[in-house]
Symmetry: D2
Subunit: 150 residues, 4 copies
């Protein structure tokens, strides 16, 4: 069952243009949590050569969303995230670990830690917390895009 | 003076590999706030065709950082951001407006609103709040990268 | 209509044991926002004589909840809040101003600024942002308390 | 050494008028974390009889601050906190557990979970994350109160 969920997750990730652009990989996903990985390259940098904070925020957003989606078992939306940057991120690889703190009927609150692999060591670079909500059932079924958070 | 600041800001943006990858533009910057813009294309999408939340988080991170940097007048680090997603973002262009709420000697607290231009209308899609801190003076001057937040 | 809403708001506030304990007053409330006030006294202090950050967080929580409730027009729950402390708060009075940033069918995202009145001046001491959600309809109608966020 | 730290922590707590008002107890404190406890009574309620969210936010603020203070080994200020409310809190006792995620020279990022003891069970009611910063050295030594965050 976890293998099927992981396969589904990879299919969803492949439909995210932004995740394809960055090259994000889904390496684990079950109802308790998720692990996303991303190879660091120069395209991801800020002005001092470190990974841009926006990349870490993207990764946290995605990890929290997967974690919440795994717990809620449904199409979900990310309502909000908060991220603390702990250290400049550099090295060869980012690893984001998302876990479910609490899941109810309509929302899940999740946490995420992001590590940067540098000289063989994984160092904690950022920590996030956020809310994932069940996407409302579409009101009009033949519309592909609905402004469903309104 | 604002023109010089804007020019400096564009030079910094041009050294951010990630901002070059996405095509972010700095359209205004002074000591009270900043405006960043980003053309929406398929590379920025999530699985339903909207702009990925991670793109909005990146834009918020960058706008908050510029806003704080303009107020603190110095090299800065982003300590933390919080973003609420209000509506799915779609259309042709994202506009992020960052403003300074309070700036002290060592930190600035800033806010940001992100709008998506769709069918001629700018709709509020996300709202953020975060803390920007003055980067500590480097301890060793001949080292290019220092883990200066530790 | 605003007068009726204000009267309702004061009745609700009077049923909050914690707001009675602190002496919180509701001075304005309509569908766009709210103002709560609280006289500063020694009972609210932290170890340096300033107002305890927890008092500011309580006031932000309450202001965000009223703001969201005014916009959603229904019984609401506070899902999450984020608060930045900008200055130590001291003086005679705290004034919290809550406003609605965006309200949809099921949630409202609101902001709040807290001022401390000191020597005739209102100084911004804290800024908050949070999510208010519509309370789910109770499943069992004759039960006073239901764990309705689960 | 932990016993001395715990004793110091209790002395600080006793000088917080607000913590005395509520009756908060410090039951554990070392450089890795802290535990604060608070008996639930009607004075802490919101309009539905549960514990007011502001009480949970106060407790999170205090637990994060103690956790950060233990790690930084110095006088500290709380820069910001974010709290997610997971379940309505009711029962006989609140227990807040604060831990240090990362501590650098000038700031610590901490997390906190708050449990409500109800019918013999401790249920997770809220989760927080925040930033604690080292208080700057006072510029003028003979002034008791300085606006030291400015």
């Amino acid at each position: 069952m976890s293998a099927a969920l992981l396969e589904l997750g990879r299919q969803v990730l492949a439909t995210q243009g932004f995740s394809r652009l960055l090259g994000t990989e889904l390496s684990a996903w079950d109802e308790r949590g998720v692990r996303l990985e991303l190879a660091i390259d120069d395209r991801l940098s800020q002005q001092n050569g470190y990974v841009h904070g926006g990349v870490l925020a993207y990764l946290a957003d995605n990890a929290l969303t997967y974690a919440g989606g795994g717990a809620l078992g449904a199409a979900v939306l990310t309502a909000e995230i908060k991220i603390n940057y702990l250290r400049p991120a550099r090295g060869t690889r980012l690893i984001a670990q998302g876990t479910v703190l609490h899941a109810g009927r309509t929302q899940a609150v999740c946490r995420c830690e992001i590590y940067a692999r540098h000289e063989g060591e994984d160092r904690l670079c950022a920590a996030a917390q956020g809310t994932i909500v069940r996407a409302p059932a579409p009101v009009v079924s033949n519309t592909r895009k609905t402004d469903n958070q309104d």
